[in-house]
């Protein structure tokens, strides 16, 4: 059984094991610094389909098929799928998963969805409600631009604070038993809004949410930065990362030496023209399923805090003059637990 600790965290008495991970990305991600860590790199953003949305559904379907295979399981062994994306009404996930005969929880956490899916998946396993679950999240650059921003061929400029939506799907399988890495704690996030209205500076909108979750995680668990080898947020980007660092420092925790961000890691801003960095549900999902998971198995880090971050806005909300509330879900992942 799990224990609720502090204000908003959960400690798992029988930490679920992350049994397998799979990732599929687009060509830009494949050319980035983490390119060799991904299972499949697509050259065609449509993947042979006739729309971005259908391509993203295919991404979701194929990645989940792969993660189940990698665990030496079959779809019949999986009790639940927790998945989400950025498209209206989660169509990328729902259409991608309709061929599976597996009960489905559709999630919306914007770019924090991977944290949300892993947290809920872990609760489901530890609570004894399932033997195996899939947690997944995806995004597609073209589909996201079409829904939130501008047509691809429009000749506009992007500010330096803007981010680049990752094309990718990342999935993990959680199970009761396994060699780890294990999910030991989760700190689900609260909605935090410090009044940032600029949808071209989402890092600034999300940094307070990331900081709030990190601080509460430390306070709830009694841990300090020294307890982690790496603290990595989802897609704050270079601007949001600096802001979050400052905010966390103000509360007395200095995480600078171990702090990174998936959006900063996944692209090379200097050569790939991605400005502030990568974003989208897929950003944290593929960075975890590819890079973080593999390097934890290589013992590069043995204890990390993974904090996907999401900006909870719609195209309409910003047009109506609303600010951008955000959320961040922390998942503590360790190679061993006592």
């Amino acid at each position: 059984m799990a224990k609720h600790i502090g204000k908003q965290s959960i400690k798992f008495d029988l930490p679920p094991s992350i049994i397998s991970a799979a990732s599929t990305v687009g060509s830009k991600e494949g050319k980035g610094p983490l390119g060799t860590y991904f299972d499949v790199v697509l050259q065609d953003p449509l993947w042979g389909e006739d729309s971005w949305e259908k391509a993203e559904s295919k991404l979701v379907q194929k990645t989940i098929e792969r993660v189940i295979q990698k665990a030496n399981l079959t779809p019949e062994d999986i009790q639940y799928i927790f998945a989400g994306d950025l498209l209206n009404q989660l169509t990328a996930s729902t259409f991608g998963l309709r061929s599976f005969d597996i009960p489905f929880f559709g999630l919306f956490g914007a770019c924090s969805t991977m944290g949300e899916s892993m947290a809920l998946g872990a609760m489901t396993i530890d609570g004894g409600f399932a033997n195996y679950v899939v947690a997944e999240a995806s995004s597609h650059f073209c589909g996201s631009e079409k829904q939130f921003r501008f047509p691809l061929e429009l000749g506009t400029q992007r500010p330096l604070t803007a981010s680049w939506t990752v094309t990718g799907s990342g999935a993990v399988i959680l199970g009761k038993n396994g060699p780890g890495p294990y999910i030991t704690y989760i700190t689900p996030g609260k909605i935090i809004d410090l009044g940032i209205k600029d949808p071209m500076n989402m890092g600034a909108a999300m940094a307070p949410a990331a900081a709030d979750t990190i601080i509460n995680h430390f306070q709830d668990t009694g841990r300090t930065p020294k307890d982690y080898d790496l603290i990595i947020t989802g897609d704050l980007g270079s601007v949001g990362k600096e802001l979050a660092l400052e905010l966390v420092k103000k509360s007395g925790y200095d995480i600078e030496s171990i702090f990174s961000d998936c959006g900063v890691e996944i692209f090379d801003a200097a050569t790939q023209d991605t400005h502030a960095g990568g974003s989208g549900c897929g950003c944290s999902a593929v960075t975890f399923a590819g890079y973080l998971y593999k390097e934890m198995q290589n013992n590069k880090w043995s204890r990390i805090l993974f904090i996907p971050t999401g900006a909870l806005m719609s195209p309409g909300s910003t047009q109506q003059g609303e600010s951008i509330p955000s959320i961040a879900h922390a998942v503590a992942i360790e190679n061993k637990w006592a």
Binding site: P151, L152, E153, G155, Q157, L160, L194, P208, L243
Partner: protein, 148 residues
């Protein structure tokens, strides 16, 4: 309440300090020279057309047609977006930019069909230009009429 407002203000200042700004001087210079070149090309086309014997009004109309065509062609060839990234307003403001703003959503929304996709979404970017441009010209026309 006040505490939250203070927090928001303080944070806004932090964001302002840390967020990188684009190089305004460099961007204005680029918009200037690219916009200027596009207009100069337009003038050249205009002069060539006039040399074929067309009068001023006809030449203007034909120049517009040629420039719109060039905007459409460059958009379809995936060149206009790169030009726009470099030039900003320099390529958005001239009529070639207007063509780009109608063709790019037309390409994008083809997946949703010709009626609700292409037909209606073609105007997502250009719509305000058409509405407010026409409204402004009507107002100017009325003022002109009464001032005559």
């Amino acid at each position: 309440m006040d505490q939250i407002q203070n927090m928001k203000k303080e944070y806004a200042q932090m964001v302002e300090k840390i967020s990188p700004k684009s190089n305004l001087l460099r961007d204005c210079a680029r918009a200037f020279w690219v916009g200027g070149v596009i207009c100069t090309i337009g003038q050249l086309i205009n002069n060539i057309i006039k040399s074929f014997g067309y009068n001023k009004d006809e030449a203007s109309m034909l120049t517009t047609i040629v420039l719109v065509f060039l905007g459409i062609l460059l958009t379809g060839l995936n060149i206009y977006s790169s030009l726009g990234k470099y030039a900003g307003a320099g390529s958005i403001v001239p009529i070639t930019g207007f063509a780009n703003s109608m063709v790019s959503p037309a390409i994008e929304y083809k997946k949703e069909g010709y009626v609700f996709g292409v037909g209606s979404r073609m105007f997502t970017i250009a719509g305000p230009v058409i509405v407010y441009g026409l409204t402004a010209s009507v107002v100017v026309g009325i003022i002109h009429y009464f001032m005559k």
